[in-house]
């Protein structure tokens, strides 16, 4: 029996309505007991002293790009999951825009083998909606579900044809499988490089208007209503989308949504300006699809999380190599390496009072699980919570610790981030996956460890 005891943490689980000081005991990869003094009662265990720190269920990411197979120069399952662990994520859902894309049993089996070999945390595969992500024919959802996918997505591209999207929602309802749509009307965003607004006007760049997203959100909500399918909106980025989703949920439509930490905190001004409005630059590190938008969008998205209109915070972790980013803005690959900064960046909205810490934790744990029924689909009962019996996936963090983003220290191969050098408040210190410590922050190393008998070493 392997036992890990966590001493004296502030334990927060919004699903179980827990917020108090307690010990947690993990046995053989599962949560065994939570309560005051539980750790003392264990005789022989690996121990972590979490005094002054918060413990929650490990974070769950519904949206990340691990790039393997096919783009290993940008990221691999090994490096991507190491980055996930550093970010406090114990489960990540891998988007299928790899090469080859994950649209068949053959491709997914090879992926699963790779995951088995090199993943440091749990990786759940997502399958393509259409064959080859071409947007023309449906991929075999049944085959993919049997092989273990937890959702379908052509992310990177929208399924543009309404009738095909309708068919996808309808067919996938057979398996109760969420269809995650990258909602941007391609005809409105073709050659668009950033949010269409005063900054794109200033820079002379073609824009991607908010309406492009809202049109597809509205359209797909209507299709979900008609088909009874399970629609999930990936990386919501506009205030208008939040309103549409709220109204749809109020009507009882089966729609869920996610938002990224960057869309919650960064605006389109970051593409052009550092401090000074007189001096522009073209920061491809801030180029992402959908693009960073305006203060009013950030405001609405924050309220969306606060009020549960948006179910989850998902990273859309998109690592790229330097040669993909340090080129002409029009040619630069869109995306931000987000796993290692997601929690701290999202904490910005806790520190500014938009939503409480408990809500943040829910958006990163039970929220994603519920949105996609991940516990049922994986058979891991209690996933995303600290329910006894649930997998021992935990994260220990300090919500007040300041630290500076240094991309060269990223475990991800992708160093592409627009917030390099920024100081964030809130740091993941220890990540535990299935009872094993998979990440321990250097500032905490050693300090948190107690001897097997509970004494400081």
């Amino acid at each position: 029996m392997t036992t890990l005891a966590i001493h004296n943490a502030r334990v927060i689980d919004p699903e179980l309505n827990l917020d108090g000081i307690a010990d947690i005991v993990l046995v053989d990869g599962h949560i065994a007991r939570i309560g005051p003094n539980e750790a003392e009662m264990v005789i022989d265990a690996e121990r972590v002293d979490a005094t002054g720190l918060v413990v929650s269920a490990g974070f769950i990411d519904l949206h990340c790009h691990l790039r393997e197979p096919g783009f290993e120069y940008k990221e691999t399952i090994a490096t991507g999951t190491a980055a996930a662990a550093r970010g406090g994520f114990t489960t990540v859902c891998a988007m299928p825009n790899t090469s080859p894309p994950i649209d068949s049993q053959a491709s997914i089996e090879s992926l699963l083998r790779q995951i088995e070999q090199s993943a440091q945390v749990r990786v759940l595969p997502i399958g393509c909606i259409t064959v080859g992500r071409q947007g023309k024919e449906l991929a075999p959802a049944g085959e993919l579900v049997d092989s273990g996918v937890v959702a379908l997505s052509d992310d990177g591209d929208a399924v543009a044809d309404a009738s095909l999207m309708q068919a996808a929602l309808s067919y996938s309802s057979l398996f109760n499988l969420p269809v995650s749509q990258h909602a941007e009307d391609p005809s409105l965003v073709s050659e668009g490089q950033m949010h269409e607004g005063w900054v794109s006007a200033r820079l002379g760049l073609r824009g991607r208007p908010s309406s492009a997203e809202e049109i597809f959100v509205a359209r797909d909500i209507a299709l979900a209503e008609v088909t009874g399918g399970r629609l999930h909106i990936a990386h919501v980025s506009t205030a208008g989308s939040v309103s549409l989703i709220a109204a749809a949920k109020a009507r009882g439509v089966n729609v869920t949504a996610e938002v990224t930490p960057h869309h919650l905190t960064l605006t389109h001004e970051l593409v052009a300006f550092d401090n000074n409005y007189k001096k522009i630059d073209y920061n491809a590190s801030a180029k992402v699809n959908p693009p960073l938008r305006m203060d009013s969008d950030l405001e609405a998205l924050g309220i969306g999380i606060r009020d549960g209109i948006i179910d989850a915070i998902a990273t859309d972790h998109a690592p790229h190599s330097l040669s993909d980013k340090e080129i002409e803005f029009d040619l630069a690959a869109p995306g931000i390496s987000m796993l290692e900064t997601a929690f701290a960046l999202a904490m910005t909205r806790v520190h500014d009072g938009t939503f409480p810490l408990g809500t943040l934790i829910r958006s990163l744990t039970s929220g994603p699980v519920r949105a996609w029924d991940l516990d049922k689909r994986t058979g891991l009962s209690g996933l995303g919570t600290l329910t006894p019996g649930a997998p021992a996936d935990l994260v220990i963090f300090d919500p007040e610790m300041d630290w500076t983003v240094e991309p060269n220290n990223f475990l991800s191969k992708g160093k592409n981030t627009p917030i390099a050098g920024r100081t964030l408040k809130g740091k993941v210190l220890v990540t535990i996956s299935e009872g094993e410590i998979v990440y321990e922050d250097s500032t905490a190393a050693g300090r948190l460890r107690l001897s097997a008998r509970g004494e400081r070493s």
């Binding site: 269409e196 005063w198 409005y277 007189k278 080129i327 002409e328 803005f329 040619l331």
Partner: protein, 349 residues
């Protein structure tokens, strides 16, 4: 000037003639740029410095032997990723008149995509001890990227839809020759504004000189985001104040300057205009429309022009037109910039 201007009557006062020799006033040059990427960070004084120096350069161009070899030993590389006859020739001539070594490299964007990256190209040229790289590129922001990878000074000869600072400077020079002070003058630019780097740099430059800028075109060719109320208060200074008008008659009324912009077929995606014929009916700058402008108005066009589409042939060659002067003035302005840049580099090394 005639010879007689130099012959003094015997009773002339020494002070007078000497004052004439010194010149009415001398002006200190203000120049703080390592690169010329856009006019957004040029102060009024810096623009004035360029204009005044361009005047001197213009004199050189009028000489029998139009040479003033102050830039001997200076290497200037024209790196053009987009085809251009007039701008490239203008820069080449500017460098050669001043005695610089001029090398022209044409690349095209697709070959860069396939092979050598922009950064590699710029680094290679720098290793050839380029002092200045004059760059024209089809994508907005390319010269900003280039400037980070070379110690040479980068002069933007046009980047995508973003900026064309030397064009704006020569337009300002041309207008000052004809109108004097530009303060409070109404300057109207008509055409495909959203894709026009001439319009954008012009907005900055003309505003810095105190003029009132009006942008005119069909709604599909006007960018959203230029009006003051389209940006937050804290970002007020991020764009110059301009007016936008879709009705050409309203725009041109009492204008001091009307600039017709070329309808850019290659940069305009299909679907923004029903037809060229429709555009010319509604937006062509014709003598009839110009009769509503001030009687001593100036008509400009950055060239090359599509007569019969954005501009009437008769007005293009009329007496209010500065289209030809703009070309000669372009060489003088570019000479002035090369001189200022070379001077700053030398001083700092």
């Amino acid at each position: 000037m005639a010879i007689s201007d130099f012959e003094r009557p015997l009773d002339s006062v020494a002070g007078q003639s000497v004052e004439g020799a010194l010149g009415a006033a001398s002006q200190d040059v203000v120049w703080n740029h390592d690169h010329v990427l856009d006019l957004d960070d040029f102060s009024y004084e810096e623009i004035e410095s360029v204009i005044t120096l361009a005047g001197k350069m213009r004199e050189v161009l009028d000489r029998r032997i139009a040479r003033a070899p102050i830039l001997r030993g200076f290497t200037m590389i024209n790196l053009f990723f987009e085809p251009s006859t007039r701008t490239r020739a203008s820069f080449e001539l500017a460098g050669k008149v001043l005695g610089a070594d001029v090398i022209s490299v044409s690349a095209n964007t697709s070959s860069v995509v396939k092979g050598e990256s922009l950064i590699d190209t710029v680094k290679t040229l720098s290793a050839m001890t380029a002092d200045a790289i004059v760059m024209r590129h089809g994508m907005s922001g390319a010269p900003y990227l280039a400037s980070k990878y070379t110690r040479a000074s980068v002069i933007n000869a046009g980047d995508g839809s973003h900026a064309h600072p030397t064009q704006a400077l020569l337009d300002i020079y041309t207008l000052k020759q004809r109108l004097g002070d530009l303060k409070d003058k109404k300057i109207v630019m008509v055409g495909d504004i959203s894709h026009s780097r001439v319009a954008r740099s012009g907005m900055w430059g003309f505003s810095a000189m105190g003029a009132n800028v009006v942008l005119c075109g069909p709604p599909t060719l006007l960018p959203s985001g230029f009006l003051v109320n389209e940006r937050p208060k804290h970002a007020r200074s991020a764009l110059p104040d301009v007016d936008i008008e879709t009705n050409i008659d309203v725009a041109i009324k009492d204008a001091d300057v009307v600039m017709a912009l070329r309808l850019q077929k290659e940069r305009q995606q299909g679907g923004l205009l029903p037809s060229l014929h429709e555009y010319s009916r509604l937006y062509q700058v014709t003598s009839e429309r110009l009769s509503k402008a001030k009687s001593n108005h100036i008509l400009m066009h950055p060239g090359p022009k599509n007569e019969g589409i954005e501009i009437g042939g008769d007005v293009a060659s009329g007496s209010n037109s500065t289209i030809e002067e703009q070309v000669t003035n372009g060489v003088a302005v570019r000479m002035a910039l090369l001189y200022l840049i070379a001077q700053k580099n030398q001083r700092e090394n």
